[in-house]
């Protein structure tokens, strides 16, 4: 069993309009010292998954099933109290929006000190020294002074770094970073990504990074999980996903993205249509209304949900198209267009 093992996780929200199947049967694992990148369309269930792992849907209206094993402990069936006790030290999260997750009325230092003292029986002075150390480590200039600043007195990049300092205050064994750099400028983003890499190396923690930026996952991740409509559609080693992707949605993502490291292409290759409704998820393969190859699977695309099946090279793909056909499409039609044009 891995350090983190998620098995057939389902998180559904009953609403007036129907049940929103935000996460619908997700399975993945992660070892200490490894990084998993989760990418996918807006609304595909990335944030709901991470909140689910932290136990933050407990007590709400969400219907959760499946298993989440963290270092031998099962969290879906565990009482909310027990999961809360794991937050901070065992697992921590950097949220998508740093402003909303820091309290505006307390100084940055106060918030780090409190987070630290929940799990560590130390004096205020010791905790304060720890907070100053951490702020220095994440690159806040003059941490001894800035520890007494309020969140609004920090720039966006500094706030994000302070959030990271807070999440790291108890050296969590699992760190989930939800779009940690989306709101930041590229030069600040580069600093933050370096920082996360260094910290992970130092503490050997497991890291989940959620992003829409394929560049960010290419830099950090060992494994990549691609989500679409609440389900995993492709999952494997980072190199496999980039150099031998087999799912039409992953192809679409790669074709949509202008790249600085290649000759500029004449035209981008967008995915047609728009993301699916999670209340009326398209039947069969959720991607079929947008998939250029939907007609190649003899009507099964719209009637039968494809299995997440392993390829010879060992990564997982959820698509009805025969493997040989996918390989040949990638090699002969998709890859040449993406790489030259």
């Amino acid at each position: 069993m891995s350090f983190l093992d998620v098995k057939d996780l389902k998180i559904h929200f009953p609403t007036d309009d129907g049940v929103v199947k935000s996460v619908d049967g997700l399975t993945f694992g992660l070892e200490r010292g490894q990084t998993l990148g989760i990418v996918g369309e807006s609304g595909s269930g990335k944030s709901v998954t991470s909140l689910g792992i932290l136990g933050l849907h407990k007590g709400g209206r969400a219907k959760i099933s499946g298993e989440i094993w963290l270092d031998g402990e099962e969290l879906v069936s565990a009482p909310a109290e027990q999961v809360r006790g794991l937050r901070g030290k065992k697992m921590a999260m950097i949220f998508q929006d740093p402003l909303s997750s820091m309290h505006p009325y307390y100084t940055v230092g106060h918030q780090i000190i409190e987070a630290y003292r929940i799990h560590n029986a130390v004096s205020k002075q010791v905790a304060r020294k720890h907070a100053v150390d951490l702020l220095g480590r994440v690159g806040i200039p003059e941490p001894g002074k800035r520890v007494d600043s309020y969140p609004h007195e920090f720039s966006g990049g500094m706030r994000q770094r302070a959030m990271i300092a807070m999440a790291l205050s108890c050296d969590p064994e699992l760190l989930i970073a939800d779009e940690p750099t989306t709101a930041l400028d590229v030069t600040v983003q580069a600093q933050i990504l370096d920082l996360m890499r260094d910290l992970q190396r130092e503490f050997n923690s497991a890291l989940i990074i959620i992003t829409h930026d394929l560049g960010v996952v290419a830099e950090l991740a060992d494994d990549i999980l691609v989500m679409y409509g609440g389900k995993c559609v492709e999952y494997g080693k980072t190199d496999e996903i980039f150099y031998n992707p087999e799912h039409p949605y992953t192809w679409g993502l790669l074709g949509s993205m202008p790249r600085l490291d290649r000759e500029p292409t004449e035209r981008l290759l967008p995915i047609k249509g728009s993301p699916p409704s999670l209340i009326n998820v398209p039947p069969g393969c959720a991607f079929h209304p947008r998939c250029p190859y939907a007609d190649r699977t003899e009507g099964r695309a719209s009637t039968e949900v494809p299995d997440l099946a392993p390829t010879e090279r060992g990564h997982l793909v959820r698509c009805h198209m025969p493997r040989t056909e996918r390989r040949s499409l990638w090699e002969n039609e998709i890859k040449p267009v993406l790489e030259t044009q």
């Binding site: 966006g156 500094m158 580069a190 600093q191 830099e219 202008p258 790249r259 600085l260 728009s274 993301p275």
Partner: protein
Amino acid sequence: MSENEPLLSVRNVEKHFPVTAGLFKKQVAAVKAVDGISFDVFKGETLGLVGESGCGKSTTGRLVTRLLEPTGGSVEFEGRDITHLSQGKLRPLRRDMQMIFQDPYSSLNPRHTVGAIVGAPFRIQGVRTENGVKKAVQDILALVGLNPEHYNRYPHEFSGGQRQRIGIARTLALKPKLIIADEPVSALDVSIQAQVVNLLEDLQKELDLTYVVIAHDLSVVRHISDRVAVMYLGKIVEIADRKRLYSSPMHPYTNALLSAVPVPDPKARKERERIRLKGDVPSPLNPPPACRFHTRCWKAQEICKTVEPPLETLASGHSVACHFPENAPVAAATAGEAGKD
């Protein structure tokens, strides 16, 4: 790009926002949001404007469309000085210059139908249409890839990409000559971004439009632009055609920006040389004297702190404001482009 007269000509334009304090709103300082910038935009071209958050990109867009009045310098549109035109005199000009905004959600009135939104410019400007406003609106909807039947629907019934199309349709209604697009795709999903980028390119060809595209995403800007201007703290530090700018950037800041972009190629992550900038962008309330980049520049010498480097144009047409520009390119971008000259 044409050799003829520029459509838009900006000279030493400034916008200093007053900072007031006390009962009598006495001015105590000024935010130098835009501090003496000059550039031309030629008919049919796309000028990209990049730079980090707060450097003055949006303010520049608002100044050249005269949504804001400059506090210094001049703006000429089709050879006519519009720097200080009154609102009344500006009205006919508003048809020719349109702005597309970042947020497709907040810029559409939720209580108006798509027909009313896209048709509003005709009514406001009192424009007569050959077969009635409805027909004209439906033609524009078709042009941006929406269904004419969408005429009576409301914004909330559309996806993000579709809403951005509605926003674009509205700006096209009056057949503008110049479109300033302020972060037109940054709020959209990757797959949808590509649809909108392609749409902007198609419309440019079809309608002979001239664009200024403001974006912080350097890959998108390279894809869409003919020339690119880089801003730092209210100044333009470099302008060049995109090939030169991305393959042999001269300003140290441009070099740092390009090297910070994460590249979606896992194998490249080990090989890449990164320029790491220290610190955040300084406050525009109190920008560093002389070269504003000197507080973060690894090449800074004494002269950089005392003498402001002017934006000088080289024989190649490449303009840069730096005492010690990089001439051996350290581009993160492709080597391929450099060879094609």
